[in-house]
Amino acid sequence: MSETCMMVLIVLDLALLGISMVNTGILIVGLQGALLGAFVIAVNAPALSPRLFVIACAGIAIKGFLFPLLLRRTIKEANIQRDMNPFVGASLSLLIGILMLASALWLGAELPLTGVIRAPFTVPASFMTMFTGLFLIIARKKALTQCLGYIVFENGIYAFGVAAVGEIPSLVELGLLLDAFVAVFVMGIAIYRINQEFDHMDADELRSLKG
């Protein structure tokens, strides 16, 4: 079950690299969030405590539903165009995605994590997700897509954390979720304000400060 989750995570990463509409991107990121909640349950399935179940559900609610909601609202209020407007086109992005997957697999084999990781295939999948997030931040022009990239990057770290550390205290876990939520919220407001001031939100236009 947890292996399937990780396979789907990688497929969603590749899908994110190939799409051209922001709305589809938001949908995929939401799916990833919900998937990670399911992953928490799958990894801990043999001895699932109510506490973990609640945290997994909170994760699904925030990452799977609240984030997409916030981002869609930002799009609507800031009246943002729907295309991704990439620096790097879809086919080249996918090609780079394959390379990222290869290096993620290599990293997974290299890192001395045997005995630490509780679910197979998590390390490459989480690194692939982190790479995808970073790539989206660098290679897409829109501030909103960069925000999506940030969420994907965090998703990758989250997947790694679930498999490598497992039970971390609820307070820390809730702090993390809250931080991620506030980060997306703050980025939403920031995008709105940038859009008001500049009448666009292409981050590559934000380049007057130099040196």
């Binding site: 890192l111 994590l113 809250l178 931080d179 407001i189 934000l206 380049r207 400060l209």
Partner: protein
Amino acid sequence: MDNTHPLLLTCLLCVPAIAAGLAAVTARSLRAAAFITAAGIGGGSALGLAAAVEAGKHGTISALGSWLYVDALSAFNLAVMIIVYIMSTVFAFVYFKEEARAGAFSLKQARQFAALWCGSFTSMTLVLVSNNLGIMWVGIEATTLLTAFLICIHSSRHSLEAMWKYLLICSVGVAFAFMGTLLAAASSRHVAGFDIHQALLWTRLRDHAAMLNPALIKAAFIFLVVGYGTKAGLAPMHNWLPDAHSQAPAPVSALFSGFMLNAALYCIMRYIPIVEAATGHAGWALTLLAALGVFSIGIGAAFIVFQQDIKRLLAYCSVEHIGIIALGLGLGGIGVFAALFHTLNHSLCKSLSFFAAGRLGQRYGTHDIRLLHGATRNSRLWGTALFVSLLALMGVAPFALFMSEFRILKAAVDAHAFVLLALFLCGVSVVFVGMLSKAIPLMWGESTVSVAAPDIHTRLEAGLVVIPLAALLALGCWMPGFLGTALTQASDIIRTGAALPPH
């Protein structure tokens, strides 16, 4: 033995947080916003100092089942933070009073500022008093989120651009640090009898440091240095820093440079003893830090030479000084003591120079150094303050920054790190020449802009200039006994992880 002070430490976190909430909801006038800020920061500072004194007396204090923990290292940083906050808050009153007089500071902005200012006090305190490394990370991330909108209190294209860069680069950077935190926790999984629920407690990791998986803890430290280093402004992760520092209002720039960078560096300091013990005291972590430090000094020096904007110049100067602190930490031995001493000196001096740059900016309507020529004649107090603080920042004796840099030099000689020594000397020489060439015209240059406003200043402003300069001068000539003890205890924690027994 730990001493528990649950009330003190919880109040320390709650008072400024409540003030932040009150300011956001109830402030109906500029005066009310100012009052709430003063009460929140004043109350928080008093409690923080009390906690630092208690920690000094007993060695360590803790609360809430060791989740909150103050030892000599956190106490020292707490004290520096409080000094910077008090100075910057007083300056904020002076600065925004002028803005309000010019009609550029509305109630909405005041409310936003007061709430975020008190909120950032809480989050930085949380970083310093958390024993749980996960919560410490939460505190740093919260600092980013709370201070982002402080940059664009005055909404303009440039300030929004700076805010977005800051928000994105620091969020992603700090996410790297979270990966590092997870790897550090994972490195303890095989340790027998190690409760996974306590894997993130610093004291637990320190006690079991020798048994951690060295390869994993090394990987963790790389992520941590990249992550927290981004927030601390270590090159090459410093790109957000000059923009944010130059576009933020002066009190915010002062806080950023004066303490926010230190808070991120503090997180790295916490991991040094753990990583060193886990890797058999081979100096692996220290080498990494020293290399990044020297690189930052070089980058700072290279960019200082070409700066025409005084606030950007000061920002690159921060990159350089954070580099010096990292180098001191990396050299080990007396270098750690000197690095901590340098954080205090740099915070005092950099806050003052940002105050001066901000006030001159208000007077001249620009931060272009070429237009500020002759500033000491035009605005005697703030012009002189900028000139003297620039001298202190470039390392002129007998200011305290010279003394701490000299000790780092000595540490490099002691450690036979002659390559680092040469690079360090090259860097500070370039900075010296670069900054001196910008500073001299401030004093003796012909002013090209005529400023009509009369050169008057209040006693409060004079105090803001005189007190830090006098302190820097005094610390340069003489180190008070209590400061020496505090620095020794704090540096012992970084070097060995152990807190000294109470005395």
